[in-house]
């Protein structure tokens, strides 16, 4: 029964982390990098939930942490999208290689 095993969830979370890292390095747009960061956050939340289910004595803590991560991710997405739109108004581009100075 691989669905009742801590290691399988940890490996799934590691794959999510690696997917996020790869997308962060490989995507040629700021929105793509934002999408990749969501994968990293999801891997972390899945890790918290797996340890909560199999190891932790209090089964509410992991769920509260996962909810906390979801709230942080929602705030991060809102802020990041508005920053990207502001950057796009300034540079008319969303390629991270073309955005090289921070002069306003």
């Amino acid at each position: 029964m691989i669905s009742a095993n801590l290691n399988s969830y940890l490996i799934i979370a590691a794959v999510l982390l690696v997917i996020g890292l790869y997308g962060m390095m490989q995507h040629r747009s700021l929105i793509g990098m934002l999408i990749s960061s969501e994968f990293i956050l999801n891997g972390a939340a899945l890790n918290f939930m797996a340890f909560n289910r199999f190891v932790a004595p209090n089964p509410a803590v992991g769920q509260i942490y996962a909810l906390f991560i979801m709230g942080i991710a929602a705030a991060e997405a809102a802020i990041a999208v508005s920053i990207i739109i502001a950057v796009y108004r300034k540079f008319q581009s969303e390629d991270p290689e073309e955005i090289q100075d921070m002069k306003m």
Binding site: I2, L6, N7, Y9, I11, I12, A14, V15, L16, L17, V18, L21, Y22, M25, Q26, H27, R28, S29, I31, G32, L34, I35, S36, E38, F39, N42, A45, M49, A50, F51, N52, F54, V55, P57, N58, P59, A60, Q63, I64, A66, L67, F68, M70, G71, I72, A73, A74, E76, A77, A78, I79, V81, I83, I84, I85, A86, Y88, R89, K90, E94
Partner: protein, 175 residues
């Protein structure tokens, strides 16, 4: 009874496949809209994994917050992305692809070895409470009240900051 266990196992594998395929779709596609769709599919898979971990409440929240809110916010950002014509005209520089592949392979192998070789996570001898929403709510409002208050302050700050950032650019353009 054994049939239900096999069905649950098949569902688990299906959710894992959904998560990984959505992830690969999100990082391999050039079109940002396809990447957001892949993200939504992958997050649905993770919601299924939360259900398997015994928390239907968190699965619901995952669908509501991530698939419902975060993906919609990112879709609003897709409007500044490239159209397919622009993508075809633009030359894609691929110089950091080997570096990305090498780093990710190395990181995954390191994590995999660490997870496999260290299997001595001892479970807690006795669990207090259960996975019910009632217990989560009581913990959230009594013992972990700080996290609850903190997340509301963070969300409020994020909303105000997003409004200010978006409005400043518009004023600059009109004046």
């Amino acid at each position: 009874m054994i049939v239900f266990e096999y069905v649950a196992e098949a569902l688990f594998l299906g959710f894992v496949a959904l998560t990984f395929m959505g992830g690969f779709m999100a990082i391999r596609s050039k079109m940002l809209m396809h990447a957001v769709l892949g993200l939504a599919v992958s997050l649905l898979g993770v919601a299924g994994l939360y259900f398997h971990l015994g928390s239907p409440f968190l699965a619901m929240m995952q669908i509501l917050i991530y698939v419902g809110a975060v993906c919609i916010i990112i879709v609003l950002g897709v409007m500044i992305g490239n159209t397919p014509d622009q993508l075809a005209a633009k030359k894609q520089s691929r110089k950091n692809l080997p570096l990305a592949l090498f780093t990710c392979a190395l990181g995954f192998i390191g994590l995999f070895v660490a997870i496999i070789s260290r299997t001595t996570f001892t479970a807690a001898s006795d669990k207090i409470g259960d996975m019910s929403i009632r217990f989560v709510g009581e913990n959230l409002l009594y013992q972990y009240c700080l996290a609850f208050e903190l997340i509301s302050v963070v969300l409020l700050t994020a909303i105000i900051g997003a409004i200010i950032l978006a409005r400043d650019g518009r004023e600059e353009k009109t004046s």
